[in-house]
């Protein structure tokens, strides 16, 4: 008897979660749909964010995650390859590396922001300025490069974990076949393992991009800006970004009523972006898992 009550309670938990998610998404969809036109996506902001569009923020977000991806995918894949293909099993080092990756994913986002400021901007950037540019301030200031590298460190665990999952799914027999044909370990990795792991790498990359596009705390002091009249073109430019734009519009603009529809639509765009990315990654991942089950 009591059992039925508790089971019902647990069903209620499910229902509450679904209801709250629907509430959040529904509210944003309802209010955000109004302003969503092609010109909104392609135009620049006007009249103090009370009119116009959000193209620079979209562009900035894309450019940001592009640089981040270029940095994080090679590094993440190589780390996963080492852990799964090269490292001696049960070595202490491997345990520490895995522990480090788990820890890295638990570091608060704002700490990454501080790191971006204290390491990339104040140390690497200012060092580059001193070495190559004399006394001019070129890289020792907030820049899209530093924000992207900070995000790359933040999303590294995502790429490593997803790639490792894909690598582990490849049966050892494939590797043994390659060795028996005389391949070196690297050749085996390049020609046999990696091509089969592409799905996992893709998943990891897409999830990383989705995370990178959404995190605001790490870019608060490493390069995001509220209004720039140009699009970021050089690596040391600042940039507008969707998440940061939402934060500033929600808290800063003087005409709340006029900005509200634009604010909601910007949130809608960011959500749509992250969802499309997430669901693509999930779809890819489920296809891999299905293939894996069939192979076994």
């Amino acid at each position: 008897m009591m059992g039925r009550f508790f089971i019902a309670l647990s069903a209620l938990c499910c229902a509450v979660i679904v209801a709250m998610t629907a509430f959040v998404l529904g509210d944003i969809a309802y209010f955000g749909w109004e302003k969503l036109t092609l010109s909104f996506l392609l135009a620049a902001p006007e009249q103090g964010m009370a009119a116009g569009g959000i193209f620079p923020a979209i562009f900035g977000t894309f450019f940001l995650v592009l640089i981040m991806t270029v940095a994080v995918i090679p590094l993440g894949v190589m780390t996963a390859v080492y852990l799964n293909e090269y490292a001696p099993k049960h070595s202490r080092l491997v345990q520490w590396v895995r522990l480090a990756i788990a820890n890295l994913s638990g570091v608060p986002a704002i700490v990454f922001g501080l790191f971006g400021l204290g390491f990339f901007i104040d140390f690497v950037g200012k060092g580059m300025d001193a070495a190559f540019f004399g006394s001019r301030l070129v890289f020792g200031q907030p820049a899209i490069l530093w924000a992207a590298l900070t995000l790359a460190l933040l999303t590294l665990p995502t790429v490593v974990v997803a790639t490792e999952e894909a690598l582990r799914a490849i049966p050892d027999s494939h590797r043994e076949v390659a060795y028996s044909l005389g391949a070196t370990r690297l050749q085996m990795v390049r020609r046999v393992v990696l091509p089969q792991a592409i799905g996992g790498i893709l998943t990891g990359g897409i999830l990383a991009v989705s995370r990178g596009a959404g995190e605001v705390a790490p870019i608060l002091f490493t390069g995001a800006a509220y209004f720039l009249p140009y699009l970021p073109k050089k690596l040391n430019d600042q940039f507008m970004e969707l998440g940061y734009h939402i934060y500033v519009m929600a808290t800063q603009s003087p005409d709340v009523e006029a900005t509200k529809p634009i604010l909601y639509s910007t949130v809608f765009v960011l959500l749509a972006l992250t969802f499309v990315l997430n669901f693509t990654a999930i779809w890819v991942r489920s296809r891999i898992r299905r293939r894996l089950r069939l192979a076994k």
């Binding site: 200031q141 140009y230 800063q252």
Partner: protein, 275 residues
Amino acid sequence: MKTLALILAASLASAAGKTVTIKGSDTMVILGQRWAEDYMKSHPGTVIQVTGGGSGTGIAALINGSTDIAEASRPMKAEEKASVKRKQGKDVSEIPVAQDGVALYVHKANPLKKITLAQAKRIYAGELTQWSELGIKLSQIIVYGRENNSGTYAYFKEHVLGNQDFAPEVLSLPGTAAVINAISKDKNAIGYGGIAYGKGIRAVPVGNDEKSPALEPTMKNVLDGSYPISRALYFYTAGKPEGEMKRFIDWVLGPEGQRICGQVGYYPLKKPSKP
């Protein structure tokens, strides 16, 4: 689409290097942005970039040398000016560019007719906590303020609190919009901020003391100094402005720039002369 073309043109111009960087006050960032937009429309070769972060951010950037102009909604302190001199080797140029009244806002249903500076001080210091003490039939006063990186925060602290500390219960919000949004949804709320538009709130007339008339922060009252909490908004530069920076600042101080103040919700330095 026209603005997109403008951005692309500006991207090319930025490569050519005629850029003016403005950083600082969140109170002023919208104003700075409008100035930048309009100036670039009529001067297509120049790029002006505006970022916020608070008056303190702009001043810190001026000290560090990472901005041309610091926008500030409070005057620079002597130590800050000294830091600029020390790190950049130049004296600070202080240029008032607009006027602002700091308004005390309440929910539009709140019938408060006037508030004196002394009452405002006591509310924000945490000594006056109930609306009933002001004769209003509401309950606890929910007090909103700004984050400590805001020039408005610093100005309010100096001129209304007399440098006393804010009560810890004052909710710190990161921008004027947040304050206005919060008050419009909260019957018991009071907050301060630069003059701005917003539905659901009203600015309470402020009086110097019990006997003085309470005035609203209208343009007349702010420009002739009779509104008790009005302030100038500043541009600060290291050294006297030169080149493109000077042209921009002159434009801002001229009739077109000053007209924009009113459009964004601030007041020009002088009353516009009748056309």
